[in-house]
């Protein structure tokens, strides 16, 4: 989450961002699903984002680090009109810290909140940093620990991204990704960790192209990730609790 590392600016003109009343929107985005976490602000068609310091627990530095960073951007909480939070998949605990923090801020300020998928944010980061890329399949891939990755598959037609199917969790395997349109780019921490698996299939491997909060801010501003009340925020765990998986195994074996 917020705090330290360099600030990243990724561009998008207001015209790219749909029909929202985007000129007056100031979207604050929060991401705590990765060890470092990230923060971003969308205003005037631009996203400014920063990575946090991975050595400090999210729950210890939030929300004060968020306000401090916002201040460094010349903004106060009063200036924010919308909140976005990365809602998973990722670290279960990290997901909940970010979402509970978002709820605490949003209920007291009556902010609308967008819950943005980690994988959507990853894919959108690739999109804005590769504006000239041709038609392909993009696989957003987050390291899920336990030898597994969280993945979601998107079709990029040269102008827009479309999610194909549902996000999945499983061992890294190109064969499990389903139908793809070559070339294929796999992006994110799960791409890098299992680079030999993906590159063995001839797929391009990239790390995350920007802090995840940047994509969350953009997707919330564009309306691609719609805003809800904080009460209706729901995490996207993808991986089920261990006790349920164990019960399923027992029932299968019985």
């Amino acid at each position: 989450m917020a705090g330290g590392a360099g600030t990243v600016v990724t561009g998008n003109s207001a015209a790219d961002c749909g029909e929202y009343n985007i000129q007056r929107m100031v979207v604050l985005a929060l991401e705590t699903v990765t060890p470092a976490g990230s923060l971003a602000v969308f205003r005037d068609g631009q996203v400014v984002a920063t990575l946090g310091e991975s050595g400090v627990p999210h729950a210890a530095r939030l929300p004060q680090a968020l306000v401090a960073w916002l201040g460094a951007q010349g903004l106060r909480l009063e200036d924010v009109t919308h909140l976005a939070v990365v809602c998973g998949p990722g670290s279960f605990t990290g997901v909940r810290i970010g979402m509970a923090c978002a709820q605490g801020l949003a209920v007291t300020r009556s902010w609308p909140v967008a819950a943005v998928s980690t994988l959507d944010a990853l894919a959108d980061g690739w999109r804005v940093t590769h504006p000239d890329a041709g038609v392909r399949t993009v696989v957003a891939c987050l390291d899920g620990m336990r030898g597994e990755v969280f993945t979601a598959t998107y079709h990029w037609d040269g102008a827009s991204m479309a999610l194909r199917g549902e996000p999945m969790v499983g061992v890294p395997s190109p064969a499990d990704i389903g139908d793809v349109t070559a070339p294929v780019t796999v992006v994110g921490s799960g791409a890098v960790r299992y680079a030999d698996v993906w590159s063995g299939a001839g797929w391009e491997v990239l790390d995350a192209c920007e802090p995840l909060a940047a994509g969350a801010a953009r997707l919330a501003a564009s309306g691609a990730s719609p805003c809800v009340t904080p009460h209706a925020l729901r995490p996207v765990y993808v991986r089920r609790p261990d006790v349920e998986l164990a019960r399923e195994r027992r029932l299968t074996q019985a």
Binding site: L62, G104, H231
Partner: protein, 351 residues
């Protein structure tokens, strides 16, 4: 002053508003006390599953806080401070309450104080009864804790003894599970015990053979152990159940006998510690303080020994946020400074 308390340390998502009254005899009043219990979710597993608990806290917290404010007939702008359980407890569960409360406090520019869960249980006695004679000895007994505290002054809690192994509530859960009575075990064992003979089954009273961890003047008085009793109960039940299903009467007798031993142990140790420490009152708090026999036996012993006994009402016995709000008020009244840089601590020591 109105303080919003938030509690998510285990399997209850709770929020409450407590207000100061200006009345020295009853300085705090509960304006609302909302609890969303997860018992039904964890019943299938026979105990609290941390990941399921954490998921449910996140789902419930906004609605629970809304209801607490609504029931107290106030809005966010009427809240003067927040208190939240920092620990001990399940870390994933604690983090939901801590993250939510810190964000709300910062957004509202209101002070926030982190609270020790057991300090909350102790303060539930003051919340209900107002000032009680000091020094007091307070037994905190629940599914996760069995501890004795000396309270020499308001807001000062000195640990004088605790269980070496299982909490009393855990033992109730285990026995209930073996008897096929479901989860949680405390309430159902209490109900069935009322129908049984408490002398019918010979169960051992907890004894200590290892070195004492108590201070020398409290040796043998303040420590608890329930694992031996639990193991003995398990052995007896397995032997009996090998011979066929137990009758309802046998189950009732087993519950009554088991409960008698647990309650006698708790009451004996508490009053022994009170006598050794020169306490002028005794308190009993925590989920197991809802046990009807523990309440009755403690009150009877208090009358016999001339020591007043204070127990919170049932609504403040199990985990709740009114007690957290009360402990927060105690800390603020004691000059605690608000700070946002705290984190959840599953093994938080008592301050």
């Amino acid at each position: 002053m109105k303080i919003l308390g938030i509690e998510t340390s285990c399997d209850e998502t709770a929020a409450a508003v407590v207000a100061t009254t200006g009345d020295a005899a009853k300085p705090w009043a509960v304006r609302s006390n909302i609890i969303a219990s997860q018992t039904a979710i964890h019943r299938e597993w026979g105990g609290v599953v941390p990941e399921l608990a954490s998921r449910q806290h996140l789902r419930d917290i906004c609605g629970v806080v809304d209801r607490a404010l609504e029931a107290a007939e106030c809005g966010w702008s009427d809240i003067d401070a927040l208190a939240v359980t920092q620990g001990p407890g399940l870390v994933g569960a604690l983090l939901v309450g801590v993250s939510y409360a810190k964000a709300a406090a910062l957004s509202l520019a209101k002070p926030i104080v982190p609270v020790h869960h057991l300090a909350g249980h102790i303060e539930s006695i003051w919340l209900e009864h107002g000032p009680i004679p000091l020094p007091a000895v307070v037994l905190v007994v629940s599914g996760g804790h069995t501890s004795l505290y000396e309270v020499p002054a308001l807001g000062v809690y000195r640990l004088v003894g605790r269980t070496r192994d299982d909490a009393a509530g855990e033992a109730f859960d285990k026995v209930a599970r073996l008897l096929g009575l479901g989860y949680p075990g405390g309430p159902v064992v209490d109900r069935r015990a009322k129908l049984g003979n408490d002398q019918a089954v010979a169960l051992p009273r907890p004894r200590f053979t290892g070195p004492s961890r108590s201070k020398p003047h409290l040796e043998g008085m303040t420590e608890f152990s329930f694992s031996g009793l639990k193991s003995a109960a398990v052995r007896l039940l397995q032997q009996r159940q090998d011979a066929g299903p137990m009758t309802d009467e046998e189950v009732n007798d087993f519950c009554a006998s088991f409960q008698r031993i647990v309650v006698e142990t708790l009451v004996d140790r508490t009053f022994a510690a009170a006598a050794a420490l020169g306490a002028r009152s005794v308190g009993i708090a925590g989920g197991v303080s809802a046990n009807s026999r523990l309440r009755a036996d403690a009150l009877t012993r208090g009358v016999a020994e001339g020591l007043p006994v204070f127990v919170p009402p049932l609504s403040l016995s199990t985990d709740n946020a009114a007690m957290i709000a009360a402990a927060g008020l105690r800390r603020l009244e004691g000059g605690a400074k608000s700070a946002l840089n705290f984190n959840a601590d599953p093994a938080l020591p008592m301050p």
